[in-house]
């Protein structure tokens, strides 16, 4: 059984994510600081909140910094959590975690913002999180910003919202989904299981 931690920025719906992870067999702790020893086989950055307050909660309340705490532990960033992997975001002024090169920009103004609802995943290449997920599967999105990685190689799936929106990214031990797997029914469950498999390795 994988033991994982969800980092709580203090403003999110942690309950659903915790519940979904427990349903697929994980033991879940909720943490608010990196100052205690990392005894977990996986870390999740949840998907609800605002860029600056979330970054501040990660950076300002711990003496130990994110990268140092995480090391090679698999990290799943969901929505905002994935956006924080990058260098900066148009949503805020704070610097991101900077573990994947690139930035976060607002969605195309020709479309309704937020992009809210069920959209198809267009799988670009095999990825650990996407194992067993069929091309065209439905995922639940709710976001106003999208990531723009410096290298497209990190993008494993996209979604079409006027423009191609990176939906899943993977680099080293960092996995990100722009949609919410915990709200994406059966398909989301498969992806959470895939993440837990990485945590057990």
């Amino acid at each position: 059984m994988a033991s994982v931690a969800i980092f709580d920025y203090g403003a999110g719906n942690i309950f659903s994510l915790k519940n979904s992870l427990e349903k697929v067999g994980a033991t879940v702790d909720v943490i608010t600081t990196f100052d205690n020893e990392n005894k977990y086989s996986g870390l999740l950055l949840p998907g609800v909140g605002n860029f600056d307050p979330a970054m501040n909660s990660i950076r300002n309340f711990s003496k130990i910094q994110f990268k140092e705490y995480v090391g090679d532990t698999p990290v799943l960033g969901i929505c905002l959590g994935m956006e924080m992997f990058f260098e900066k975001s148009e949503e805020g002024k704070e610097k991101g975690l900077n573990v994947i090169d690139g930035e976060v920009i607002i969605l195309s103004s020709s479309m309704k913002i937020p992009h809210m609802g069920w959209n198809n995943l267009e799988i670009k290449k095999p990825g650990k999180i996407l194992e067993g997920v069929e091309n065209g599967s439905w995922a639940y999105f709710v976001h106003s910003y999208r990531v723009k990685p410096t290298s497209n190689d990190v993008i494993t799936a996209e979604s079409d919202y006027g423009i191609k929106v990176p939906a899943v990214v993977e680099q080293d031990n960092f996995y990100g989904t722009q949609f919410h797997p915990e709200k994406s029914s059966t398909v989301g469950k498969i992806m959470l299981e895939n993440f837990l498999k990485e945590c057990k390795k």
Partner: protein, 267 residues
């Protein structure tokens, strides 16, 4: 493929039970909210909305346990509204497992709560619910519409549709968007309970006034009403209650019918 239209069953909750008006009769018990949530979720509902229908009048808080129990059984998004007045009310709902909070009377009384919510939880959590009713006392400062030689404007009502505010719906949705709303849940009081179809004029006008998603509500009596509202407006989602209570129109059945009629839905 692109974003689909969302079909959203609405569950009106009173004293912890789902209630419905059946054939215009008085409110009847329609079951356990958690069981119904699970049933709709399994049938392919895209989201769920829970409204504590008595909350605004009786100043009651939405039940924390209900939110928790629902969040434990479903893996699709859900919104909880009814009686939300403060940041603390909203927090109570969101931290217990709801994805979005619906705020209606509370937003009219204290519009800055929309901004506070947006800043803390993100825009996507903030659903501004608006109950709209045609007002035939024409005032030139309002957005005037004419139908069947009658002039009217759409007025915002609060306290569960019982009290007019004198505020124009079109002005209010624009303000709500600026203040930080992530979505509008638009209910036509004129159409609600009629099973006569959504208010197309109202819905279309609101959709064209904002750039955030809009959910149409009030008046759905059959799947064709959903087809009409999706074809006649650029609305993002259709909410309905009564049609899903009859076995003949399960959520999946409704969505299959929509798909057959070229409405993009998740199946």
């Amino acid at each position: 493929m692109t974003l689909t239209k969302r079909i959203i069953p609405c569950l009106d909750v009173k004293n912890g039970r789902v209630v419905k008006g059946l054939n215009f009769e008085s409110i009847k018990d329609a079951g356990d909210p958690v069981e119904l949530a699970e049933k709709y979720s399994n049938e392919g509902a895209d989201e769920l909305v829970f409204l504590d229908i008595t909350a605004s009048n009786e100043q009651r808080k939405t039940i924390k346990n209900l939110v928790r129990n629902v969040a434990s059984v479903i893996d699709i998004p859900f919104t909880v509204g009814g009686g939300v007045k403060s940041l603390e009310d909203a927090r109570n709902i969101l931290l217990n497992g709801a994805d979005k909070v619906g705020i209606n009377t509370g937003a009219i009384k204290n519009p800055k709560v929309i901004t506070e919510l947006m800043e803390l939880f993100g825009r996507q959590c903030v659903v501004v619910a608006i109950d709209a009713k045609r007002n035939y006392n024409v005032d030139e400062k309002k957005n005037i519409f004419t139908k069947d030689n009658k002039q009217f404007w759409f007025e915002v009502f609060i306290y569960g549709g019982k009290e007019g505010t004198g505020i124009d719906v079109i002005d209010w949705v624009k303000d709500a968007e600026k203040l930080g709303a992530g979505e509008i849940l638009l209910t036509s009081i004129d159409k609600d309970g009629t099973k006569d179809g959504y208010d197309i004029l109202l819905t279309r006008t609101v959709v064209d006034s904002v750039s955030i998603p809009v959910i149409a509500s009030g008046g759905c009596g059959k799947p064709d009403d959903m087809i009409d509202i999706f074809k006649e407006s650029n609305v993002d989602a259709a909410l309905a209650a009564s049609i899903f209570h009859y076995e003949t129109h399960g959520v999946n059945g409704v969505k299959s019918y929509l798909k057959d009629n070229k409405i993009p839905v998740r199946l």
